[in-house]
Amino acid sequence: MKKLLMLILAALFLMPLAATTAAAAGGAGPDKDMLKGLITQVDEANRTFTFVRDSDSKVFTFTFGAKMEAKDLPLGKKVMINLDKKAGEGVAKSVDRMFLDMSLKTVIALMVIGLIGGLLSGFIGSGGAFVLTPAMMSLGVPGAVAVASNMCHKFPKALVGAYKRYKYGQADIKLGLVMAATAIVGVQIGIQIQKAILHAWGNAGSNLYVSVVFVAVLVLVGGYVFRDAQKLAKKKDATGHEISPLAAAMQKIQLPPMMHFKTANVRISAWVTVPVGLLTGMLAATIAVGGFIGVPGMIYVVGASAVVASATELVIAFVMGFWGSVQWGLAGLIDIRLTLLILSTSLIGVQLGALGTTYVKDYVIKIVMGSVMLIVAVSRGAKIPGYLADLGWQAELTPQTAALLEAVSFWALVAALATAGIIISAAMFKGMMSHRAEEQRTLAAARE
């Protein structure tokens, strides 16, 4: 409990520091050209509408964007307006309703996604974000609100997961906090890169960059993790964990300050953790799943076991998620209903995933991680041709090709989730059954 408090205090301490850096960097959160408020009047004949800004009740009159129609403008509902600076002063590029009406279907969909996302997070230390944000967007939530609400659901889930796995003796709080400190710096670097690309090539360039990074990281890291897991699975005594040659070499570097991480059972120079933390943060700022670098980084560079690495990632996720939520909250973009509906099942899923790790061998975690990463790579890869066409670097896609690629992308994501859900449940069930049988035998022996 003491350590949990320490963790919360550390996050609270890191937050203003990070917020200051973020402010200096221009902010991690929402776009500055975006306005929030209510549409009070629509003048269809002149193609203009009256808008009252939330923050100061200032009244604006904006012109319809090129493809905009009066029916796209919801009267009296909270909206987000993006202005098209290129089209002239006061021209709206897009108008999105900020907060959707909840239907039973939406509620159930959110709860199902939350459960699987939570299960994955508890088991491999990360994995909710890459599916939750697109899933929410497909339900009609605007991108910024989806990212904000997801971020706000991430930190309590990570907190509960980290605490649970800390109790199982798996989470290395010290390693997590050291990594989180550098990860926050990494997030800032990631944002700067994003901004530079957005400035140079616009939205399509940014989308392409995100997808290319996604696919490259997932194929490289996922492939490596998967191969490693297969090798381990072939060995009969694959109960424990072997330190990778790279981690062994890193542990030999005697560059002060040397740090001892008790749970991870590693003594390593603090400098080795810096690049791993930085890259985790950069990836988090780019594709929202820092854990895809953080967990393998802790395994193969620092030398922690997969169990400890995936548990420690939850500590990092908590610190980063908490800080991110405050950023998005300040902009008023968190839809707490979405956050809490996802939390209702993901808090159960994350604990189920966490206890699942106690029944499986180390390589099973790696198999799940590797498979999910490779399938998600397919999902993102299918998006690349579309972005290339948007940039004019490739011929326009035919509607059939575009629809096919969209379907591939969507179903690959569903397949990734289903695969993970099935592997985790099956491994857990098998582990529990054999453990129960063993307990029965001990009980019978004790009675005799």
């Binding site: 909840m102 659901h153 908490f322 300040l330 808090l347 159960i348 004790a446």
Partner: protein, 111 residues
């Protein structure tokens, strides 16, 4: 040690939170050796209470949806609302989830 002394010493240990030592002093060190280990009782009541609190909080939230959405999205100092709500739910709904899993017989493997 007399029985009285032993009992008082055990009480002292129990009060200090060291139940194991207290039990050993009262029951003798080996008295439990032949006992069949018992499974910990399932936390049905706690699960129900936490579940009720959590469910009430959800109902309260959605009953006052309009006010909540208005207040929670004001930004600035109002950021505390969504962040604290997320903390509140993780401290109530999280333990509820944990106990629910225990009631369902899903527990971590004991090493």
């Amino acid at each position: 040690m007399t029985t009285f002394d032993k009992n008082m010493a055990a009480v002292a240990f129990a009060e200090a939170g060291d139940h194991q030592t207290a039990k050993e002093m009262l029951g003798g060190k080996n008295s439990n050796a032949n006992k069949v280990p018992e499974a910990a009782p399932k936390p049905y009541l706690k699960t129900l209470v936490l579940g009720a609190i959590s469910l009430s909080a959800y109902v309260l939230l959605f009953k006052n949806e309009a006010w909540v959405m208005e207040t929670f999205t004001k930004g600035g100092i109002y950021t505390l609302f969504p962040v604290l709500a997320a903390f509140f739910f993780s401290f109530v709904h999280g333990p509820f989830g944990s106990d629910l899993l225990r009631c369902l017989g899903l527990e971590a493997k004991k090493k």
